[in-house]
Symmetry: C2
Subunit: 201 residues, 2 copies
């Protein structure tokens, strides 16, 4: 709880800093491979002046993908730490060309448990899950959905192949957090992306 309090304090500093610099910021959490990086790639094509801070256990896979898309990106390796924290993000900010950024995305480590208590000071937290994790994935992880502002249910093009009940997933999310936007997408086909872009704006 001391760590959580300290994190809250630094998250507030990040939030103030981004506000002062007129930067629209979104912290993306989600299951492993649910489509977080693909989503940021999408946004970097639709919006100008996109920047990113990406956290991964190891390596530079996501960092490389975004840099190839001309997105100023900072890579953070979390190792055995199972979530990004505000301290890491605060330091990453000083490695970005802040004056050239209008939209800033944080990509958290793929994990539906650990990031729940550690907010990063963004305007909003989005959670991305995909139908391929099974349609009980929302119900099984209530806390992280409760703390999020937008839920993206991705890879709907594969719902039938997995045998996932899409409406159940939407309903589960709405039940856990009635104020939350719940949007079904297929980053592959493009379905649902227009709605997300309206929310980003």
């Amino acid at each position: 709880t001391d760590l959580i309090e300290e994190n809250e304090k630094e998250a507030k500093e990040i939030n103030d800093f981004l506000g002062k610099n007129n930067i629209r910021s979104i912290d993306i959490v989600g299951a492993i491979g649910s489509g977080k990086t693909s989503l940021i790639e999408e946004f970097s094509c639709s919006f100008d002046n996109v920047g990113a801070i990406v956290g991964d256990v190891a390596g530079e896979d996501d960092y490389n993908r975004l840099v190839e898309n001309d997105v100023p990106t900072v890579n953070l390796n979390t190792g055995k730490e199972c979530h990004l924290d505000a301290h890491l993000v605060k330091h990453a900010l000083s490695d970005l060309p802040i004056e050239e950024i209008d939209y800033l995305f944080f990509e958290n480590v793929g994990n539906l448990v650990c990031p729940a208590d550690f907010m990063l000071g963004a305007d909003e937290r989005w959670i991305v899950v995909s139908v391929t994790e099974g349609d009980d994935v929302v119900n099984k992880h209530p806390i992280i959905f409760k703390n999020s502002d937008v839920t993206v249910i991705n890879k709907i093009d594969l719902a039938e192949a997995i045998g996932a009940d899409l409406e159940k997933m939407v309903e589960d999310a709405r039940e856990i957090n009635p104020d939350m936007d719940v949007i079904k997408t297929s980053i592959k086909t493009g379905e649902g992306l227009d709605r997300l872009k309206i929310i980003v704006e």
Copy 2:
């Protein structure tokens, strides 16, 4: 590290206990929704006297599925703890009809980071990932693959739809841990399951 040492000690006690009772045991870790429970369901149909201890953040979804398959099962809710530990498992053992069990499966929480340091005292640790998490999932999580004995790459029926390079995934696993069995499966179509059943025996 104190916690890890204590866990090692209790894992050894579990291992001795299971050995004394002639129980074949497998600890299954893996990504969220990769197919862990489906695999145990499969084994419960092919083998007699199967038991299970399942860990989930919340709820009884996996527990209910196994009980419906007549598998004596203990449910452990891990809450904000992102992995099962030997202490929880040790206590769960006393709730099982041990003399009636020949094969015991532990299903860990869906997570590719936290369980790495916390072994549960089973004969082997299997890691189940699926192609739908993206073909970089193995490379991105080296530690947990290093500590496992068998890798199951599941949902191969969806490899094309995701655009996943199956051979890359197999190669990545073999590179991280050359001694490990790497088996491609589709629990949906049944492909690869015979090989796994031979390993279980």
